[in-house]
Every structure is written in structure tokens, then in C-alpha cells.
């Protein structure tokens, strides 16, 4: 009566793929997702363009980065944690955790989808800003810009994995996320460079991988940009290092969190 045996890694990879598929199906089935993924980027693009209008030769890049990050932030980071919160509300967290696949593989699938939909948001912002200004942004190296944009998404996703673990840990994760959302958004430099913030906030900002990646993105796309003194290369190193630390931490946390919720018996709470 046993299910046909599947090699463990293949099975886990398929669980991640199944999670991506489920996310897509839920996205298509639920019109409310149109707001953060399609409509919000349009609004962000229009507002950001107006804010930076006439502020130098690279104002279009600033507008795209600011609004794009704002859009991707919501999609990638917030969406990843929120999906786990939804599992609690639907009561699907219990059957999902009762499956043999470790939950982190399910979370990874959701994050992958959120990265894709965040990129779509970024592309919409780009389109809106270009349409509004009637010109293409002066990007020094378009290929580098795209690569770094994607890199920022991945660093945001690494924070999303940790947030998902918090959502498994407690039903109050949404509350915690809402409190920290704006501080994180400003503190990591999503809207404007972190260097504009008081010096004493910088150590806190540097704990987060997107701070490094966003600074690198600005260095790579805006000539004359004055970010962290250590420059582009060390930004990349810092981003990779912190992101790796986050992913390792996430692996450890998820194992512990899964164990913890079995101990306290709060999986069914919402």
C-alpha cells in the first residue's frame, strides 16, 4: 500500500514546484491580487516620477528604483510571509506540515513566485515612468542594472524566508510585520539611499541583505552615486554574505520552528 518511492531530493524539488503552481493558481483565482501586483506599481510609478522630477540627469533611474523597490518589497517580502499567514487562516498549515516535505520547500516555492510577480511589478513601474516622461532612463549599463535588480529581489526573498518562519511560529506574525514594515522599508534604502539616514541607524540597516544589494544597485546604475564609502564591490560581498547567513539561519530556524509548533500545539490557531 505504500506510495511509489521517489528520490527525496526530486520529491522536495517537486514540492517547491507544486508550491509555485499553487501560488499561480491562487493568484489567478483571486482578483484581489491585481491590486498589489498590477495597480499599485502604476500608482507608485506615477508618484515617484513626480517626486524626483527635475532632480538631476538620473532622476528617471531614481524614480524607477524607488517605485520599483516599493512594489517589489510588497510582492516579494510581504507576500512570502503573508502566504504562510493565509495557510493558518485557511487551516491548510496543519495538512501541509503533516506532509513529509519540510515546510521550507513549500515556502521556497512561494518566494519564487513572489520574485516573479515582483519583477512584473518592477517592469510595470519602468513602463509607467518611461511613458510618463516620454524618454528612456539613462542607465549606464542596462545588463548590470537588470542583474542587480534581480539580485535585490533575491536578497528581499531571503528576508521573506525568515518572515515565513515567524508566521509558522506565531499567529501574531502579521502584527509584527505590520509594525516593522515601514521601518524596514526606509531602513534598507528602498525609497532613498540609507546614507541619508542618521549614522547610528546604519549598523541596523546593514543587518539586512537588501540594504547592501540596493546600494550596489544604485552604484551600478547611477554615475557619481555617493553611497556607502566602501563602494560597489564590498556592497556585493556584503549582500552575498548576509543573504547566505539568512538562508542558513532560515534552514535552522525552520527546523526549530516546526518542532516548536508541535510542542506548543498552535498550528491550528489563527
Amino acid at each position: 500500500m505504500n506510495a511509489p518511492a521517489t528520490p527525496l531530493t526530486v520529491s522536495r524539488f517537486r514540492s517547491t514546484a507544486a508550491s509555485v503552481r499553487l501560488s499561480v493558481l491562487q493568484f489567478v483565482a483571486d482578483p484581489q491580487w491585481l491590486i498589489p501586483s498590477m495597480i499599485a506599481p502604476v500608482i507608485f510609478g506615477i508618484v515617484a516620477y513626480q517626486l524626483v522630477l527635475g532632480s538631476g540627469p538620473y532622476f528617471l533611474v531614481y524614480a524607477i528604483l524607488g517605485a520599483g523597490m516599493m512594489s517589489m518589497w510588497g510582492q516579494t517580502l510581504y507576500g512570502s510571509g503573508w502566504a504562510t499567514g493565509q495557510d493558518r487562516v485557511f487551516g491548510t498549515l496543519e495538512p501541509t506540515l503533516q506532509a513529509p516535505t519540510p515546510y521550507i520547500y513549500v515556502v521556497l516555492g512561494r518566494i519564487l513566485w513572489n520574485v516573479v510577480s515582483g519583477l512584473v511589478g518592477g517592469a510595470i513601474v519602468y513602463g509607467v515612468v518611461v511613458a510618463e516622461s516620454g524618454q528612456l532612463p539613462a542607465v549606464v549599463n542596462p545588463l548590470l542594472f537588470v542583474v542587480l535588480f534581480l539580485f535585490v529581489m533575491v536578497t528581499l526573498a531571503s528576508v521573506g524566508v525568515i518572515l515565513s518562519a515567524v508566521y509558522v511560529y506565531t499567529r501574531f506574525a502579521g502584527f509584527i510585520q505590520n509594525i516593522g514594515e515601514f521601518a524596514f522599508y526606509v531602513g534598507t534604502g528602498c525609497m532613498f539611499p540609507v546614507i541619508f539616514l542618521p549614522w547610528w541607524t546604519n549598523p541596523v540597516s546593514l543587518v539586512f541583505p537588501p540594504t547592501w544589494a540596493l546600494d550596489a544597485l544604485r552604484y551600478g546604475s547611477i554615475p557619481g552615486y555617493q553611497g556607502f564609502a566602501w563602494g560597489f564591490g564590498w556592497d556585493l560581498v556584503g549582500a552575498v554574505a548576509t543573504m547566505t547567513a539568512y538562508l542558513v539561519l532560515a534552514g535552522l530556524i525552520f527546523h526549530r520552528v516546526e518542532r516548536h509548533v508541535l510542542e506548543v500545539g498552535t498550528l491550528g490557531d489563527y
Binding site: N2, P4, T6, R14, S15, L22, F90, G91, V264
Partner: protein, 328 residues
């Protein structure tokens, strides 16, 4: 030789601790299970009965790896559930039922496909198996409709389909027919029996006594976190006094009359219950000599309003006797 048990639980205790309030927290502690021992053999339908809050779902969740015991040990299919839950999960199915636990915005087929992938079904087997379970629970026609359009009964069937999707050796069913109409409930019971024919062992919790009586080879009654009895239905009947039940009702009885009833063949404990001004005595016995006639004869003609009813002891009697005894 005694077969290797499918479930073996020893001295399972589970304490829930909760906190209320933010600044001034108030802690509370509930002992949901207080030393449960259990053994379920392969191929049987084992029933767990108990009132609300007795600890049935807690025990089910512990055995199905969704909760850790505070102390004690549980082995499922020979594996320690607390130490190696990942090894147990592919081999068991769990049906918690209810309105929640499903992705409502997508179809039943998509729900099943998602969980089939999480349970590691091979793609070559997956779609065929999904169709098989949909047929088996009678959801084929509605398989591509969104779950949010389903009735309670259809959702219950979908829970069941998900539970058996990966061909588990042991299936936990937590009140599987609750909320179902009689026809659907009957179909579900039929399905449960057919699963046993396929070699699946069933661990069933239910509130419906007739269901337990109809399905289960052995039963345990859980009350206030303790197993107060465990046996076959016939064994449980013997435990509370026997196969025959006689109910006697009148406007009160003298002590001497109750004593005369106690002297009747095989009668042990007599239960009394008030119904407004009337008193009902319930006598149970294994002896065929206890019947309506012998009871009337023992009481004589003192009660013109006397009603006597003779019937077979049913599981509900056993359950109520044992649970009330534990409560008192």
C-alpha cells in the same frame, strides 16, 4: 504470534499552556491527556469515543505527528512519532475534516494535485491516483469546481480523498461523518470498510455511537484525558452489566423496591435519573432471566403508573455509563 501493533502508545500525557493578556499575562494549564495507553493492531478499525474536550483530537494529532506529547511514548508503524515524524508521515493519512483545511479558491483536483506532490507521488502515478480517489469518494463530477462552491459534505469527502491519496497504511479519521447527510454518512462508512478490505488500518474518533458500533472491532472510551475502558463492543457491554437493559419508570421508588430489583438475576449497579416528577431506573444484566416480566413481578402492584421497557444494551448506554461514572 501477536502481530506487531500499528499503534502503540504508552503513558501519553499532554499539557497545554496558554497565556492571556499582553502586559499582565494570565497563564493557564490544561492537562488534555493524562497517561494514555493504547494498542491498535493491523487491519482493524479502532474507535476512540469520548465527550467534547476528552482529548480525542489531541491524541489523534499526537499519533499523526502534528503534536508532541508532554511525556510518554507513541510508536506508529514501529516508529517513534516524536523522534522521527518525517519517517511516519508518508505512511499515514489524516482526515481532520471540517470547513477549513482546504484551498477554497481552487478546484478539488488542484487541491489533490498539490498534496500529491507534497506526499511525493510520482507524476506518472499522480493524475491516475487523483482520479481514483475522486471516483472513490464520489466527487468526480465536481472535481473541477472551486472548493468554495462545495457543500459541507463535499468538503468532508475531499478531506477524505486527500487522506487516502498517497495510499497510507494507517488512516486517522477525526469525526469523518460529522455534518454529513445520512446518505453521505452511509457512503463514507462504506468507504471506510472498503479501505480496511484494502489492508488499511483505521483509527477513528466519533461522537456517533451507532457508527462506532457498526464499524469498529475494538473501542476505547476517553474521558477527561484518560481511557476509562477499552474492549470490543460486546466486552464493553459486559463491563457495564450486560446485554440486556431494562428501564423502569414511575413517580418514585421505595428503597426496599430498589433492593428487590437489585436481587434480580445478574443485576449489579442500578442507575437512576430524574425526568421531572418521574424517576427512571436502568438495570443491566447478562442473564436472560432479567426481563420486563421479572421486573414487574419484583415491584408488585404498588405502581399503577409504572412503565417498563426492555431492550438490548447499546454502545450509547455503555458510553454514558462509563463517562458519567468517570465524571462522578
Amino acid at each position: 504470534m501477536t502481530p506487531e501493533p500499528v499503534i502503540e502508545a504508552q503513558a501519553i500525557r499532554r499539557v497545554f499552556e496558554s497565556r492571556k493578556g499582553f502586559l499582565f499575562t494570565e497563564r493557564s494549564r490544561t492537562e488534555a491527556l493524562r497517561g494514555v495507553d493504547l494498542r491498535v493492531d493491523p487491519g482493524e478499525i479502532f474507535g476512540l469515543l469520548g465527550p467534547n474536550g476528552a482529548g480525542k483530537t489531541t491524541l489523534t494529532k499526537i499519533l499523526s505527528t502534528l503534536l508532541l506529547p508532554t511525556s510518554g511514548q507513541a510508536r506508529v508503524l514501529g516508529i517513534d512519532v516524536a523522534r522521527h515524524p518525517q519517517a511516519v508521515r508518508p505512511r499515514i493519512g489524516l482526515v481532520l475534516g471540517g470547513e477549513r483545511g482546504l484551498y477554497n479558491r481552487i478546484s478539488a483536483r488542484e487541491n489533490l494535485r498539490y498534496f500529491a506532490d507534497l506526499f511525493g507521488l510520482l507524476p506518472s502515478d499522480r493524475d491516475r491516483r487523483i482520479q481514483e480517489v475522486l471516483d472513490r469518494v464520489g466527487l468526480t463530477e465536481a472535481a473541477d469546481r472551486r472548493v468554495e462552491e462545495y457543500s459541507r459534505g463535499m468538503k468532508q469527502k475531499l478531506h477524505l480523498a486527500r487522506g487516502i491519496l498517497h495510499r497510507p497504511e494507517l488512516l486517522f479519521l477525526d469525526e469523518p461523518t460529522i455534518g454529513l447527510d445520512p446518505k453521505s454518512a452511509r457512503e463514507t462508512r462504506k468507504l471506510i470498510r472498503s479501505l480496511v478490505s484494502d489492508g488499511v488500518t483505521i483509527f477513528l474518533t466519533t461522537h456517533y455511537m451507532f457508527e462506532a458500533e457498526e464499524l469498529c472491532q475494538r473501542l476505547a472510551i476517553l474521558s477527561k484525558g484518560r481511557i476509562v475502558a477499552r474492549d470490543t463492543v460486546a466486552g464493553l457491554r459486559r463491563l457495564v452489566g450486560g446485554d440486556t437493559t431494562v428501564e423502569v419508570e414511575a413517580y418514585g421508588f421505595e428503597d426496599s423496591e430498589i433492593e428487590r430489583l437489585r436481587q434480580l438475576p445478574g443485576v449489579g449497579r442500578i442507575l437512576s435519573e430524574e425526568f421531572g416528577p418521574r424517576l427512571r431506573l436502568t438495570l443491566r444484566s447478562n442473564s436472560s432471566e432479567l426481563n420486563a416480566g421479572s421486573v414487574r413481578a419484583a415491584l408488585g402492584a404498588a405502581h399503577p403508573d409504572l412503565t417498563v421497557r426492555e431492550r438490548r444494551t447499546v454502545l450509547e448506554d455503555v458510553y454514558l455509563d462509563l463517562v458519567e461514572e468517570e465524571a462522578s
